[in-house]
């Protein structure tokens, strides 16, 4: 168990006392957990197949050809059909399917009807399908996983660069500081979205290249805040005391300055995540994000607005976005409140 400092414990208590943010954090953590284990909940592969006395767990690992279960094809088993068939044969074999037995890339076409299919519990598509017959729940969940992973990666890279360069700028100052000041000044004047769109139109980006490009244009703001707060902290007496005791620069930064700037960093995290999700969704919506058929909220938004006659597509993704962004913002508010208890005294 990590021993929390009294201040951190107080901040944690204050955070917990803000119910909205605290519960949002719990729900968000649960959502993250669910999306990590998405294959167990939303997947076309069965969880467990009991066939002729043997048990199979097809969820992870290589695919099992249809011949495994006495079917007459070599490609991957269609577990929904297998389930129906085994029930029909009634020999004690059974299949346990996930709650939503569809994967995000699968076009579930029904004979005689064109997709999109409206939401129906009987059909297994709880939120309907998109225009090519892919399940909306599956697209939403896997899209969320990609978006949140993207946002977290962006956060980690931007903050690593921002903290390293910002600290160095604030701590050493001088020519290094000046150089980066000018660089940030110039770099932050780049028309960010437009340039990313141009780059994306040049090379069809994948997850990593898109993240690299976004980091390339997104590291400045954290750098700037870190520079300011390091500069403030450096001028405090405790840094002078540490120096007088013979502490090295590295020790002063790591042990004294950084822990005191942690509130700046923590406070911004939720908002950076929200902006990461929003940015990826916007790029996907415009068609300059991750290439199809990657499941993505932006792509669903695009489909939904192009097909307003099928409102379940656009409304599911809009509601999902609103809920997630509201929760992230609630968490952000609670953290900020916990770290910055300034009260207003005002004239009455």
């Amino acid at each position: 168990m990590i021993e929390l400092s009294p201040l951190a414990r107080k901040q944690w208590q204050r955070f917990r006392s803000i119910k909205r943010g605290y519960y949002s954090a719990i729900v968000m953590a649960a959502l993250l957990g669910v999306s990590c284990a998405a294959e167990l909940l939303v997947n076309s592969r069965a969880l467990i197949v009991s066939y002729q006395g043997e048990w199979y767990f097809p969820t992870y690992g290589a695919f099992l050809p249809g011949t495994t279960f006495g079917l007459d094809y070599d490609y991957e088993t269609n577990y929904r059909e297998l389930a129906a068939r085994l029930i029909e044969e009634d020999r004690g074999d059974w299949v346990l399917l996930p709650i939503v037995p569809f994967d995000p890339f699968e076009n579930d076409l029904q004979a005689g009807v064109y997709p999109p299919y409206a939401p129906s519990v009987a059909g297994g598509h709880f939120l309907g399908t998109d225009t090519t017959g892919r399940d909306v729940v599956a697209r939403l969940l896997y899209g969320f996983r990609i978006a949140i992973a993207f946002a977290l990666l962006l956060l980690a890279c931007n903050y690593a660069i921002g903290i390293a360069i910002g600290c160095a700028m604030g701590f050493w100052g001088g020519a290094f500081d000046l150089l980066f000041q000018r660089l940030i000044e110039v770099w932050s004047n780049v028309p960010f979205l437009y340039v990313i769109m141009i780059i994306a139109s040049v090379m069809v980006p994948n997850f990593w290249t898109l993240a690299t490009v976004m980091v390339l244009f997104g590291w400045m703001s954290m750098t700037w805040y870190m520079r300011t707060s390091t500069y403030k902290e450096k001028a405090r007496e405790y840094v002078m005391a540490a120096r007088a005791l013979g502490a090295s620069n590295v020790r002063i930064i790591a042990r004294h300055v950084l822990p005191n700037t942690i509130s700046v960093i923590v406070t911004f995290i939720p908002f950076s995540i929200a902006s990461g999700i929003t940015a990826l969704t916007a790029l996907d919506y415009l068609g300059f994000g991750l290439p199809p058929p990657t499941p993505s909220w932006g792509e669903l938004l695009d489909q939904g607005t192009a097909n307003l006659d099928y409102p379940w597509i656009v409304s599911s993704v809009v509601i999902a976005m609103v809920v997630v962004l509201l929760m992230v913002t609630y968490i952000g508010e609670a953290i900020r409140e916990a770290f910055d208890p300034k009260q207003f005294s005002y004239y009455e």
Binding site: Y194, V195, S275, P311, L325, Y347
Partner: protein
């Protein structure tokens, strides 16, 4: 315990706004993250009753003005390297793309040939190049593809300096003419958003600050929180789905109806407003929350300041203390974001223009990117960059105008 974001100091809101920029600005389309103007925000929030300056401060102010002029000259000079940097980067990129204008033209020619051949003789053309080598060279020379990238860039820059942005590869019209055609629509939306945002946010912020924690404050806070968390384009899509598609109260998009020319003047005005209602709401959603909270927080900061207490103690009415004293100081933070509007006015938003199919600047940029019409892409980049650079400087000038204590580029440059 107070637990709402809008009761925290204005500086916090602004800091968060700057971090959230990637998403926020995406929602606004053409903007990009911008760190605080060097040293300005720290000074802008420390509000005092500044117009009672004595001789010393006045002398300091004069010295500050000299520093200020030097600062703005430096900022203006910085436009040049920034602009060259951005345009060289994008220019190089557009050169490296497969499927540039020449390939496009060759494809079109080949396809036209094929269908013509199919019509006349029944079998298709060779499918390859149908232009002679000489024609190809002419084309390359026309678009500057025959030169190395840097040389071509210098030629292009030289043309931009005399305001020649080249010809569109799609429409073969001059780029400037195409862009100019979109100005009225973009300016309409930009100015309307500007007026609505400031017209609603400033009074709302004042009322919320004075009636802090009242029922009205809490109710509007809920709406504001929503606008703060949800980006403008998602609001736009939600509005479009609900009010245009389901309820059919508003048209599905566009700037005017097809039968616009046949309408009477009042009908025309009604038609434009009918089309503009939803997009304007989405544009406002983007800046609404931040501006209102900034106004509320800075007014509350000032209401808590000693000079307001003093003013009331000396016998001023509360109303007069608020409107004559506190409010004037509270407008300073609002001024920091004013310059950003100039680029919003003209460049609008890729997202909102795409959602509502508004034929403005943003949609043009988006379409030309999709169609790989690089002269237009570069033309829009030039105009957007310059507007943004000027907007940033304008913001700083606004701050300096309303707040003479601001010292840019002087000792305050070190962050705080």
């Amino acid at each position: 315990m107070e637990r709402e974001l809008w009761t925290l100091p204005g500086a916090w809101v602004r800091k968060v706004r700057d971090v959230t920029t990637v998403g926020d600005r995406l929602a606004h389309g053409s903007s990009w993250p911008r760190p605080l103007p060097l040293g300005s925000v720290a000074t802008a929030t420390k509000t005092r009753h500044w117009w009672h300056i004595d001789g010393t401060i006045a002398r300091l102010a004069i010295r500050a003005r000299v520093v200020l002029t030097a600062y703005f000259i430096r900022r203006l000079l910085l436009i040049v390297p920034t602009f060259i940097g951005i345009s060289l980067l994008v220019f190089t990129l557009t050169r490296l793309v497969p499927g540039g204008p020449i390939e496009r033209m060759l494809n079109e020619a080949a396809m036209a040939n094929q269908s013509a051949a199919a019509l006349s003789s029944g079998f298709g053309g060779a499918g390859g190049s149908t232009l002679s080598e000489e024609q190809l060279e002419d084309l390359k020379a026309y678009y500057g593809f025959d030169k190395p990238i840097f040389e071509a860039y210098v030629v292009w820059l030289g043309r931009v300096l005399v305001l020649d942005l080249g010809h569109s590869t799609r429409y073969t019209e001059p780029v400037w003419d195409i862009i100019r055609d979109r100005f009225p629509i973009s300016i309409f939306y930009g100015v309307a958003t500007l007026i609505l945002t400031y017209g609603v946010c400033i009074p709302l912020g004042i009322v919320k600050a004075i009636r802090h924690k009242s029922g009205f404050d809490n109710a509007t806070s809920a709406v504001i929180f929503f606008g703060y968390a949800i980006p403008g384009y998602v609001v736009g899509i939600a509005l479009l789905t609900a009010f245009a598609s389901e309820l059919e109260w508003f048209p599905l998009g566009g700037f005017i109806s097809d039968d616009f020319d046949d309408l009477s003047t009042t009908q025309k005005i009604g038609d434009v407003l009918d089309h503009a209602a939803l997009p304007l709401l989405s544009y406002m959603a983007g800046s609404f929350a931040v501006t209102t909270l900034m106004m509320k927080n800075s007014l509350m900061d000032n209401l808590a300041a000693d000079y307001v207490r003093t003013a009331v103690a000396k016998g001023l009415t509360f109303k007069r203390a608020v409107f004559r004293h506190a409010m004037r100081n509270s407008l300073i933070p609002i001024a920091t974001s004013f310059g950003g509007n100039i680029s919003l006015i003209l460049t609008g938003s890729f997202l909102i223009e795409k959602i509502f199919n508004i034929d403005g600047f943003g949609l043009l940029g988006f379409e030309s990117l999709v169609e790989r019409d690089y002269p237009i892409v570069m033309g829009i980049l030039v105009i957007a960059s310059i507007l943004f650079l000027i907007g940033n400087i304008l913001s700083d000038i606004c701050v300096a105008l309303v707040d003479p204590r601001v010292k840019f580029g002087a000792a305050g440059d070190r962050g705080d």
